[in-house]
Symmetry: C2
Subunit: 167 residues, 2 copies
DNA sequence: TATTGTTATACTCTATAACTATA
DNA sequence: TATAGTTATAGAGTATAACAATA
């Protein structure tokens, strides 16, 4: 349990970290912006998956995922094949050029970070990674909630008639 | 000195932290988006300052700062007074309504973080803050480098200290 | 001539809503 | 009717360039 001042400070640092992300974004190839890089990275790490799974890993709406995926598919970096088990779905898979692009991204990122973090110890980098991962976990699936999500109606005497249709 | 795999992982976590920032952004008042909140927070923490100083703290271009500042000034949250020492400059200062707004932001943020991080120890939150602050410091002033618009140097190939690798 | 700040424009990212095609 | 995915549209953030006023 932290105090309010500590939470404010954490929020401030989260905001400030944006500068780091922007700096990383500047070294990306012109036709591979952050969204595309994220798609390639997650496919490289977790293997083939469906759109919905990728959207969950990206923690963004599926419409956003669809746009990013279309961009990398247009460049031949991934392949979208129909899911035999569900004809509405598509299975995403890295292509050989996709892996090459991913490798190039990885190279550039490592180069920049090695330069910026040259006075960091291996352990400190590891500690930061671990704490950031835990922070991310603490937020779970925090994507924008669909207009009509939860909050059981039973306790609310007001206007339940027009609420969501749960099932 | 970390290994390439560790740098990749750090980049991945930096990307993933975006979900946390988006979640925080969702609790902001409709007329006070992230950019405005950042301006208020920095003015509250560092006191009165000029545009250029604020741009440096935000780590964004001055044109971006100008836009954010105009937004909060339009709502009466800050005051822009001329700098007696330099008529080109403007001194930014929080107003009473601005402080009230800032307090409301702080309250909402603390509330959300207290909920999300309820199983974190004070020390762990502190450690994360410290490491993120150090990360930010390691990147220094990493704003986009101005495109040196080669000022027609007739006969002087002088290498002014802006020796960058153009391409 | 250089610097401070503003504005116009363009691009990226994200979310909502409407739509399709399956289930 | 519900779900997987696409597309259109809108809002926020940032960068570049051109500009005005002052140094």
């Amino acid at each position: 349990m932290a105090e309010r001042a500590q939470y404010e400070e954490l929020a401030r640092q989260l905001s400030a970290i944006g500068a780091v992300k922007r700096d990383l974004g500047r070294i990306l190839p012109p036709d591979c912006p952050g969204g595309s890089a994220a798609v390639l990275t997650l496919l490289g790490r977790h293997g083939d998956m469906r759109m919905s799974k990728l959207a969950e890993l990206l923690a963004v709406d599926m419409s956003v995922t669809s746009r990013h995926v279309a961009h990398v598919a247009d460049r031949g970096w991934i392949q979208r094949s129909p899911d035999p088990a569900d004809k509405r779905s598509r299975i995403l898979r890295l292509t050989a050029p996709g892996r090459a692009q991913l490798d190039e991204l990885s190279r550039r990122i490592a180069e920049l970070l090695a330069e910026r973090l040259k006075d960091w110890s291996d352990d400190d980098v590891g500690r930061l990674i671990q704490l950031m991962a835990r922070l991310r976990e603490s937020f779970g699936d925090c994507r924008a909630a669909p207009r009509l999500a939860q909050t059981a109606p039973a306790a609310d005497p007001v206007a339940d008639r027009t609420t969501r249709t749960p099932a």
